[in-house]
Amino acid sequence: MSRVIIITLLRFFLLLFIQVFLLKNFGYYNLATPFLYILFILLLPFNTPNWLLFVLAFLTGLTVDAFYDTLGVNAAACTVLALVRVLFISVTVQRDGFDNEPEPSLGIMGFRWFFFYAVILTLVHHTTLFFLETFHFDEIQYTLMRIVLSSVPTILLMLVYEYIFYRKKER
């Protein structure tokens, strides 16, 4: 248990560091801006209680907001992300498999499942994020383009991260 906590903490700091000091400077004319830090919420263990999941998601969002000067935007997006995560996992994963499947990573759940998981959760997060940031529907085409174009690098980076820290399940 303590090992899981340490790994989760390390992952939090690593992803946050990458996000605010590296990825914040990346981007293609405001259109494609990757948000890799959400991988932290995606990779929380399956048996995380719901209240803890929401608290962690909210705090992660708030921390990123503090660095981005967009108070509340990322926090709200992460809260939505946490809800969709709960729904997605309750639909696709059987309850009895929880003991030997500690966390929803690529090595354990397989490429197909993880890819869908990442795509859906990233799209939901980016949609909330960019619509809250724009706060109106005037430039909806532009906002939609940002959502799609930002999701692509986010998901690619997630897959890269997952293959770097690849751990095959001994099943």
Partner: protein, 278 residues
């Protein structure tokens, strides 16, 4: 009561979602209306320190460019010195200058955090309240203007750059005295271009003309802003939309100067008085 408890625990994810979403939404809306009057942004002490630590490392990488730009500026300033001008009159007696008063003073600061890819871009500098920086001061750099101070903490300040959807800066076209306001955003999100609005149609504008500050707002008169690259006449509109290539390169900003207009207070009180009297 028991049923209520069962109901709540069965759908706990949904209720948790509502709670946290409402909290963040309240933060978001409050933050917008109170102009970031809160501790949770990059002028916060902890986050400012974190940014400046990383920046300490990063600044080594651009030492050469920084040196070059400083040397260039030095040369420019040196050219303005009295002893580098050829005097064709003989100075007979010294006059104590009581006509010219100092109106602007400058505080040098280093950029510790920079962004150009957001919808609203901010930079953080390593000077704050203790060094005499207050809200709404102008910020310039050797090549052009940067933005306006938005938030100050003891040792850091956040600056709303030109690349912000709410930045409006009074600018005029060099040569003619026509002025308008410089805006960014609304379909133009390139970090090196900006739009000059509200210049009346009858003004003749050519490509390549310089755009400078008008001196009406926080900045001294005639500081460079950029050059005109495109002029669009919109049908049925009395104003021109002028595209300006900014002379400030926001992506490599390193040292900036905060402009302290010593007469701001006087001008402000006068202007608010006259609007009150209307």
């Amino acid at each position: 009561m028991r049923n209520l408890w069962i109901f709540l625990s069965k759908y706990n994810a949904f209720f948790l979602f509502i709670i946290f979403f409402v909290i963040s939404f309240v933060l978001l809306v409050r933050n917008n209306s109170y102009q970031h009057a809160t501790a949770f942004n990059s002028s916060n002490q902890i986050i400012g320190t974190a940014f400046s630590q990383v920046n300490d490392l990063k600044s080594y990488l651009s030492l050469k460019q920084t040196n070059e730009s400083l040397a260039k500026e030095n040369a420019q300033l040196r050219a303005q010195l009295k002893n580098s001008l050829y005097a064709d009159t003989v100075e007979s007696n010294k006059v104590n200058d009581t006509v010219a008063h100092q109106q602007y003073s400058y505080i040098v600061a280093r950029v510790v955090n920079n962004s150009i890819h957001q919808k609203n871009n901010y930079i953080t500098i390593n000077r704050g309240k203790k060094q005499g920086i207050t809200k709404d001061m102008g910020v310039i750099c050797p090549t052009g203007i940067v933005g306006i101070v938005q938030d100050v903490s003891d040792n850091f300040a956040t600056i709303r750059t030109l690349l912000h959807s709410e930045s409006r800066i009074s600018a005029s076209i060099a040569g003619s005295n026509a002025f308008g306001s410089l805006v960014w955003g609304e379909g133009n999100y390139r970090p090196d271009y900006s739009i000059l609005e509200d210049v009346p149609n009858h003004i003749i504008v050519k490509r390549g003309q310089k755009v400078v500050t008008s001196g009406f707002s926080l900045f001294p008169k005639n500081l460079p802003i950029g050059t005109i690259t495109k002029t669009d006449k919109q049908g049925g509109n009395n104003f021109l939309d002028i595209e300006v290539k900014l002379s400030t390169d926001f992506s490599t900003l390193e040292y900036v100067y905060v402009v302290n207009n010593l007469m701001t207070q006087e001008q402000k009180t006068l202007e608010t008085n006259s609007t009150k009297n209307e």
